[in-house]
Symmetry: C3
Subunit: 345 residues, 3 copies
């Protein structure tokens, strides 16, 4: 499969700077680009590679002006990062279409257990279990070794990778992707202390509702509600190894990086962005468009939308950086005592 | 299934304030309560919902006095949080009993591999493997896709959710619950540095012992000991995505929130409480009844029981909050320089 | 199986101090040593147990001189920690050889799905799926419930524990060990923001390359590259619940403790050591031989090799400890105000 710069520019609505007939057969990162590769430049940190790359084509922003000579053919687009998303999807779809016949052939060849209902066009892998009362929509890909518990509802066009486990009564919307090892609907962490110091389990009788267009990363856990529902709103993207506790609600189009944890009954607004290893305390409410630096810990409601937070307990990013600057200064050794480990005030 | 306030108050030993004949059919959270729901109020943060809820019944503490008019029937109990645990267990047991016949029917219908011994009343799901020498007690529920390695011992009345993996030689006590994706007995992280800078694996020849009444959350990892045992004592509750390293011992009735990590050979006393994302250093000993704020990192022994810790390295909670208050102040901008980002001393 | 001190000293090249004819049958930790056990002493923190242990043999460093009377026979070696690695490997190999016949017997007795090619001497567990185009080398142990996607290449002598998932196109070198629940090659976390505030998925078309002699802990996730490869170099050891994001490269013989996270496109040098819960920012480069205290967060390139880091944002360990010492002091209460919680400047 070879594509010319002209074909790609046509597909992406871009302008060609260089040879429109040069061909490429695969995408690559700009620092590793070879002849036959198409690369992109969006992060200015990688600009230096533009001048040395052997890639045949590089996608750039229309706003970008090179400072040196560029050997590759450039295709200028409004948003190079978004264009690469389109491009990779296009490459992937070309690849996937070759596999299609195979998917149909396989439907007769494996061992799985289906007690629920599965609509047409859905492919189910080996050793997958779909329990009684479960319903799976059209055109889903359910890989091997998946568990879909009783009365679970899965929408249309959902991809569930190998080994995903969905407990009973949970609901997954349309166009969702669940990566390997994620666990949806395990019991929330609720125990009532008894007088002898031991704990009595509080049955977790609720469920998890995942709306449309959500992606859940590998080994991420979304716990079921004690009562009612833990809710992941439309368009949310969760990275790997995240924990979402019982009765949490995550607002639409919020993006959460790996290893973050959201404690019980917290409500996050829409369009928030959480850096990795962030922690959100229980029973708090967070305004929309709040951004969290990695490792931030927020313990109280945050009511002003659109702010950037950092630190634990969290404050605004700029405030934290000023405080941390003073903290850092307090540990500097004076030139005359550089080799001393003593702290000075 | 409808229950009256009178029946519920009888079951829980509570006093009715309102209509004893009002009926409910399901539990709900107080902020979402509708007619036919029973709710509870324990956390004062939710008191405002008591005055507006449409729930038919609300469980409250005997010590609680409402400040406004309440439409719902109230049932006053000694400990509303514990009462809700009893109540949800009761609702669940009514639900479960309806499934009983089914469990027996299923025992003939699926594919799994059992080389070990399994006692009566235990249900084993599809594609589960129980290796040679393993023994599983009575009345367990072993869901599909579980792996139970050689010579593992599982007690009575244990629930093992789909996809749990238990390595060889480990021991699980009675009445334990293991959630999906948790891994019991993977190798501890032990490597001896060699002269060329590479590492030689130290075989992990020990096991994991989990005592009775323990609950292990989804995707949590408890590693096997190098020699001897990693021990989780009676009544311990572990949340999701926790890491317990080799040769750790966790004292009875200790409760650990999600994403916390306990490094090798640490010993935690009984009745400790760890907030989420806490880290405990290797080879240290922690006194009983120690409480950790989320994200705390403790690197040295902590010998005084009953204290609350915070920070990294950890100090007492009050001490940390005072230090952090000064830290925060150091980054505040003066009124006249509010828009300046410069740090000032 | 009983071994004398003389046999063990011969195997390890050690000198006997005590009775060369005393026998042992199993290893144990020094604080739990009983008659018939062999223990070791490397960490000085455990020296006190040497004088009270009932173990029959204790391995010690040649440089060590006991301060009190020792009842056990001692075997002095150059490096007791490395010697115990050799010893446990020896014990394990004696145990394993007893199981050999069984492995051959089992190859005819179970249910799994192999569409790829598997070389001689490799054992495959039940309910494992090896997809079309995948190739698995010689003498591997692929446990039950493993998923090996299309076109995956697995080298020789690889151990893959139950429930591991390897997505399509990934490459695993020789002598690797993958623990239960780890996920290799799930999609990297890449989404392009659209004008309406929602996100468009960027297809992750690359793969993961794991070189030889790598160990990956339980439930650890290594994501596939957007384009090109996420690379784990020769000899790297990853603990449990680690996240390695797309396009990361980890230099050879680097060791990473549990729950650490490496953000996208970060490059770690060789021989780094990361404490637990460390976070590494995206698109940064880290010099070889850098050491990270637990919970450190590094957000920028670190160019000087061989340093120890701590804090967030990271600084040198000594610098952080000095700053933290001042921070701690700022929250101390004066003797006269010990019971006051007020912060003072």
């Amino acid at each position: 499969m070879k594509l010319t710069a002209r074909e790609i520019a046509g597909q992406l609505g871009g302008d060609i700077i260089g040879d429109p007939d040069v061909t490429v057969s695969s995408p690559a990162r700009i620092e590793y680009g070879k002849a036959g590769n198409i690369c992109f430049l969006a992060n200015p940190k990688y600009e230096k590679y533009l001048y040395t790359t052997n890639a045949s084509i590089v996608l750039v922003n229309r706003s970008f002006t090179p400072k040196e000579k560029v050997n590759a053919t450039m295709i200028a687009v409004d948003d190079a990062y978004k264009a690469v998303a389109d491009l990779l999807e296009w490459f992937s779809s070309l690849k996937r279409s070759r596999r299609k016949g195979n998917r149909i052939a396989r439907i007769f060849s494996f061992v799985h257990t289906v007690r629920g209902k599965v609509k047409r066009g859905t492919w189910i892998g080996e050793y997958t279990v779909i329990e009684r009362g479960a319903r799976v929509g059209r055109d889903c890909q359910i890989y091997p070794q998946v568990y879909i518990g009783r009365n679970v509802k899965v929408g249309d066009n959902v991809t569930i990778y190998p080994g995903v486990k969905v407990y009973h009564d949970c609901v997954i919307g349309d166009n969702c992707t669940l990566h390997s090892g994620c666990v949806i609907g395990a019991d929330g962490f609720g125990f009532a202390p008894l007088e002898d110091g031991s704990y009595k389990k509080i049955q977790q009788t609720g469920n998890v509702i995942i709306e449309d267009n959500v992606e859940i990363g590998a080994n991420t856990c979304v716990d079921r509600a004690t009562m009612g529902s833990t809710i992941i709103r439309r368009g949310v993207k969760l990275d790997d190894l995240i924990m979402v506790a019982h009765n949490v609600e995550i607002g639409s189009d919020t993006v959460i990086a790996g290893q973050s944890g959201i404690a019980g009954s917290a409500h996050l607004g829409e369009h928030c962005v959480l850096g990795g290893q962030t922690g959100i305390g229980g029973h708090i409410t967070i305004a929309p468009h709040t951004t969290f630096a990695a490792k931030t810990g927020l313990m109280k409601d945050w009511k002003t939308p659109g702010q950037s937070l950092m630190g634990y307990p969290a404050m605004t990013y700029m405030h934290y950086m000023r405080s941390y600057s003073a903290f850092k200064k307090s540990g500097e050794t004076k030139p005359s005592t550089r080799d001393s480990d003593a702290a000075h005030s």
